[in-house]
Subunit: 371 residues, 2 copies
């Protein structure tokens, strides 16, 4: 069980005995974060970025780590999220494996990695740990919380649980509650990992590792992160060149789309902790802002107090379909927030915010200009 | 390796040395079929039904087997495909495991089941075997070929390879070529089976059987056969009652949608031969009416000679998306066929033709009335 900590990550410790909503406490837990830009003397220019399931805190390059971040095209000096003006904090979610405490971290109580004994993770825990981190960095009021994908869930949870912590919000391809199709996708991904004999009830190591399960989980993920139309344009029915086809397996890969999935799966499988994947995946399924607020989802959204919000979805997103972003926009509007809702027709599906930054950048920049 | 032959199935033998398009020959091969209704003295009222991947030849009840068929609501006396007028032939595809020769059948050359040594199957083989069966039943010209899902592929192949064999055609949720999203889905389904340790390179038996792989393949299939919206209406976020939840697996099934997938998978896994699944799945990937005709798909469609065709697709189908039925309709129209194209807004996705027969029935009946 390994953690994959970006080189410039810094850390905020969570309070001893950090209480997890579904039971259990964490001691010696920490959140990995990076910042780009400078906090203003008035401490009023901070933007928090909450990520999807797999990214780390390195959203963009900065002097301490000049390597490109996962949202490099969006965040930086003069870019859409302009770090000449904004102080951008990006953090790795609690439960992940990229510097923040999660199943791959050492449990100080035992001196061993938590592994499958990591407490039951919830989106509210991720949100609370993020709120603690922001305050520990000296920020009592964020100008904006940006949440993408799963980060759109944790952002809503943070806004609901920490009123006043932010005045603006950008929700990108997010959701206020998990729906059955995405639950089914994630359930299958978890089964692929859990039924890999090397998963061994969560007690694997680098030598006996559930690699095949992680391959399947990642491939299935990619199938829901992108769109059928994008693949038609990219691959159509192109074949893998015979000289690079692996072996003589009669059912082996034959089409380029199969090779593409395989390549992505191989790059991912050993760079994300399987127990962490299971924890984050299940906590997404269980997320419903309404359930966790003891009311309906719409009512819980309307209780969130913000000045302005920008909610963006993509027509071709099958994992977090557009009706979910519309629900967020309608709910926030009902609560009095000044909401801009955008349905983009990017071809790239759920992942469009990572790729089609030409289309996402302008509305984000425009929103931040008048924030 | 077992075959699952419906009780009233009858058989047509294929010619000795039946040549498979990708190499290999079959001896002693047969096609299982059932008929409903009576062939007219002029032999001009025959309708051939070609099925999707998993159905058998028992499309509808009839005196020899009064159990409901897989298209019971559509086919029968006074129904949309009215067997008081039409003589309906439904057959099990070559390569399947429900009476027609496939990997689970005994190879007369060895006395053992073919298993993984079954010759490389193509859609054209399925079509040629179907054409042979029709002629063996004394029908030289079909009034209509109805193809659903994969049957929409084999029907187009039959029409292209056997000009004059049919004057009408109904293509339902079919495609003239496989596209990368559906190839990716099927590739993952095949991997789930092939990487199940019990698959054993295709040499499993009932005791050591790739059940887990078949579960995954079926679940993934269901996710693409139905629609996210249908599941939102049916399941939303309903939980499985705690008293029926299996065991205390911390990552076990929690939501009703997970229980639904599991139930379907369990009903399917032992009733379909895994090698047959692999063969049919790959032959769908490889199907392109253009490639197999040495031209473009559109041109190949336009060469098909028919009097009338009805092409139906469903807005919510993600496996055989509507643009594929539109391509069929446009291609046939370009060749001079009188085509009716219908885009239905059924909620049930690709499987709508099996469920939403209220919506499918009327246009099918209307088409057949004027055929």
């Amino acid at each position: 069980m390994r953690e994959f900590v970006p080189p410039a990550a810094r850390f905020v410790g969570l309070p001893a005995g950090f209480a997890m909503r579904r039971g259990g406490r964490l001691n010696g837990a920490r959140i990995a974060y990076e910042t780009v830009g400078r906090l203003s003397p008035g401490r009023d220019n901070a933007i928090l970025v909450l990520t999807g399931l797999s990214p780390d805190a390195h959203a963009a390059s900065h002097p301490a780590d000049t390597g490109p971040g996962w949202w490099e095209a969006m965040v930086g000096p003069g870019k859409h999220v302009d770090t000449d003006r904004w102080y951008v904090i990006c953090l790795n979610s609690l439960g992940s494996c990229k510097g923040s405490t999660g199943p791959a971290s050492v449990d100080p109580g035992t001196g061993e990695p938590y592994g499958p004994d990591f407490p039951d993770l919830s989106m509210e825990d991720i949100a609370d740990a993020a709120a603690h981190t922001v305050r520990a960095l000296g920020v009592d009021r964020l100008a904006c919380v940006i949440g993408t994908s799963m980060g759109g869930m944790s952002a809503l949870s943070l806004l609901a649980r920490h009123p006043g912590l932010a005045r603006g919000h950008i929700n990108i391809c997010g959701a206020a509650r998990a729906l059955p199709f995405s639950i089914a996708v994630r359930s299958l991904q978890r089964e692929a990992i859990r039924y890999d004999p090397h998963w061994n009830q969560g007690r694997y190591d680098d030598a006996a590792y559930p690699e095949r399960g992680m391959f399947t989980a990642r491939k299935l993920g990619l199938m829901t992160y992108r769109s059928a139309r994008e693949w038609e344009g990219r691959f159509d029915r192109a074949r893998i060149a015979p000289e690079v086809r692996a072996g003589d397996d009669p059912f082996g890969h034959e089409f380029q789309v199969e090779g593409y999935l395989e390549g992505h799966a191989r790059r991912f499988a050993r760079r994300f902790d399987p127990n962490s994947y299971l924890s984050l995946s299940r906590c997404m399924d269980r997320f419903d802002l309404g359930e966790s607020s003891g009311t309906t989802t719409d009512e819980a959204l309307s209780r969130i107090q913000l000045e302005k919000a920008l909610v963006i979805g993509v027509e071709s997103d099958i994992l977090f379909p557009l009706r979910q972003q519309r629900q967020i926009a309608d709910g926030l509007t009902a609560g009095g927030t000044d909401v801009t809702f955008l349905a983009l027709d990017s071809l790239e599906g759920h992942d469009a915010f990572l790729i089609d930054t030409a289309r996402f950048g302008t509305p984000v920049a425009k929103f931040l200009t008048v924030l």
